[in-house]
């Protein structure tokens, strides 16, 4: 009798556990399906496309290239909370993401994008807080974010980056780069831009790249550190100035007196350094209002 009761209890336990497991799996799957709605759209292009993505809500934008004459837009967003509209006019593709609801949770009004574009593509991307990542794309770009960081890898063209507090990391970039931020920092690594203009009010700046012949390089930070790294083979005129900060030249022995141009006088308490490296082919102008300027020679 006792053996039969124990058997019944065992069967009930197994059935109960199974029922619980099935319910949990069903609920999880349904919840996941509700949380994100994924969509993929394909656009055939004939030439050099222009892709505009205006993400009014938060979210990440990732752009990579391939050799196909096609733009693929993959998006994921909470259904019913974000409206994503796409339009193609010739080789121009416009993507707009807007919030449909008011929510106190930022991640609830979030749309993430993954774009695959031809190698030569012009981009205009805008988001609020998510990361913007662009890899191996050649073409003019305008990238804007409020608080999202911007990572560029092996891009070329005329690139304009504007953020309020997002930072920029640019690796292996060529062409012209213009960065403007209030509190974001900028790191330019292993790059060889022909023209560079970096401006931040409180962020830091690190330039660890090449100086092209006839290139113009301007780096300004109101309160941050500006560090410029160069190699012995580089050739540039350097002007470094600060009002309340310091100019830390860690390789004074390799510089010559500035041999080009006029010396613009700096009034007030500004401290300045004018020197030439090599033939002075490029022009480098660095300033920090109250931060440190560091000039470092690579090994």
């Amino acid at each position: 009798m006792e053996r039969r009761d124990m058997g019944v209890r065992g069967v009930l336990c197994v059935l109960g556990a199974g029922l619980f497991f099935c319910t949990a799996v069903t609920a999880t799957t349904a919840g996941a399906a509700r949380a994100k709605e994924e969509e993929e759209k394909h656009f055939n292009v004939s030439g050099r496309p222009v892709v505009t993505l205006n993400n009014i809500v938060n979210g990440r934008i990732e752009v990579k290239s391939w050799k196909n004459p096609e733009v693929v837009v993959s998006s994921s967003a909470a259904p019913g909370k974000v409206s994503i509209e796409t339009e193609q006019v010739g080789d121009r593709i416009d993507i707009n993401a807007t919030s449909l609801v008011d929510s106190s949770e930022p991640h609830e009004v979030e749309a993430n994008f993954s774009l695959t574009v031809p190698e030569e593509t012009e981009l205009q991307l805008r988001t609020q807080t998510g990361l913007i990542l662009v890899e191996q794309v050649s073409g003019d770009m305008k990238l804007q974010s409020v608080a999202g960081d911007i990572h560029l890898k092996e891009v070329s063209g005329y690139v304009i980056v504007k953020t309020a507090s997002g930072s920029l990391i640019c690796t292996g970039c060529t062409g012209k780069l213009d960065f403007n931020s209030i509190s974001g920092s900028a790191q330019i690594l292993q790059s060889s831009p022909t023209s560079l203009n970096l401006m931040t009010t409180t962020g830091n700046i690190l330039y660890d790249g090449e100086f092209r012949r006839m290139g113009l390089y301007t780096m300004n930070s109101g309160r941050g550190l500006v560090e410029v790294r160069f190699s012995r083979s580089d050739s540039f005129d350097l002007k470094a100035s600060t009002y309340r900060g310091t100019v830390d030249n860690q390789a004074p022995e390799v510089f010559q007196p500035d041999t080009h141009g006029r010396h613009h006088s700096l009034s007030g308490m500004a401290k300045a350094l004018w020197v030439t490296m090599g033939q002075g082919s490029a022009r480098v102008e660095v300033s920090s209002y109250s931060g440190t300027i560091r000039i470092v020679k690579r090994d």
Binding site: S183, V247, E253, T259, H263, V275
Partner: protein, 287 residues
């Protein structure tokens, strides 16, 4: 108050503190917020143009042709002008804020391009190398590399002109460089003082900052909860800019000729104008 009333207020009173009714209207009207932001940005930029620089007549002719081409303005034609409409009324119509904003942008672009073209400061240093050689300047005392490399100039100490004889031969005049630029190096250094902004331009910094502050006060208060993270970032950055602007202004009051501070203040004011524009787009403010 409706959009046309706000435009009328802007026409008559400019960007001086807007009436309460106008500010209330701005809260719910994105178009008017953009209009106020555009006018503020134009006002700030316009004050940076030197007053003594008048664009040549051809700029005005070109600008007028472009505006006529775009249909913004039309040549007055007496035969189609309705009776009773004075030429002044037509001109007043032209001065409606939106038209004014477009014209202002065009004028700024044209004047800026012209000013850049004629300004001695705009000469690219490398351009001089490609021009014919001039009189060889007198050689200056040689300075050793080590001395130069460590010569972080002390406070208010102007950098000594350092030109060796060989290097001096490389210096060649540019057609747009003032005559004194071809003089000996010591005079070249002195001539750079002309590039500093005039006291009139310095005064414009204060006006620009005041204009931006008015715009900031006129902005709708309260943020949209849908993007609290963005609200916080924008507000934090506005505070950062205000602090930095205040620091620069304090410094300029002590030394109005501080060129570096002038440059940073100008950049910060431009950033603030853009940030306010972004905040207006989002219906957010610091308050």
């Amino acid at each position: 108050m409706e959009c046309r009333d706000v435009e009328a207020v802007l026409e008559q009173e400019g960007l001086s503190p807007l009436p309460a009714a106008a500010r209330e209207h701005l809260v719910g009207c994105e178009g008017c917020r953009e209009l106020v932001a555009d006018l503020s940005a134009i006002a700030v930029a316009a004050k940076r143009i030197p007053a003594e620089e008048n664009p040549p007549e051809r700029i005005w002719v070109s600008l007028r042709a472009q505006l006529e081409g775009e249909g913004v303005i039309r040549r007055p034609r007496a035969e189609i002008e309705p009776a009773g409409v004075s030429s002044w009324q037509g001109f007043a119509q032209l001065l409606r804020p939106r038209a004014l904003a477009m014209i202002g942008t065009g004028v700024l672009a044209a004047a800026g391009a012209w000013y850049y073209a004629v300004s001695p400061n705009s000469v690219a240093p490398n351009r001089a190398k490609s021009l014919p050689p001039a009189t060889t300047p007198a050689p200056a005392p040689a300075v050793s590399p080590a001395e130069a490399a460590t010569s972080v100039s002390a406070p208010l100490k102007p950098a000594a002109p350092v030109l060796s004889a060989g290097n001096a031969r490389k210096r060649q005049p540019d057609r747009t460089v003032p005559p004194e630029a071809t003089a000996p190096p010591s005079q070249i250094h002195e001539s750079t003082t002309d590039l500093r902004p005039s006291p009139t331009e310095l005064a414009s910094f204060g006006e620009s900052a005041a204009t931006l502050n008015q715009t900031e006060r006129a902005m709708p208060s309260g943020g949209r909860a849908s993007n609290a993270e963005v609200d916080a970032a924008l507000r934090t950055n506005l505070r950062t800019l205000n602090e930095f602007i205040k620091e620069c202004e304090t410094r300029l009051r002590e030394n109005p000729r501080d060129q570096l501070t002038q440059e940073y203040l100008n950049m910060a004011l431009q950033q603030k104008a853009e940030l306010l524009n972004a905040m207006m787009d989002s219906g957010r403010s610091e308050h």
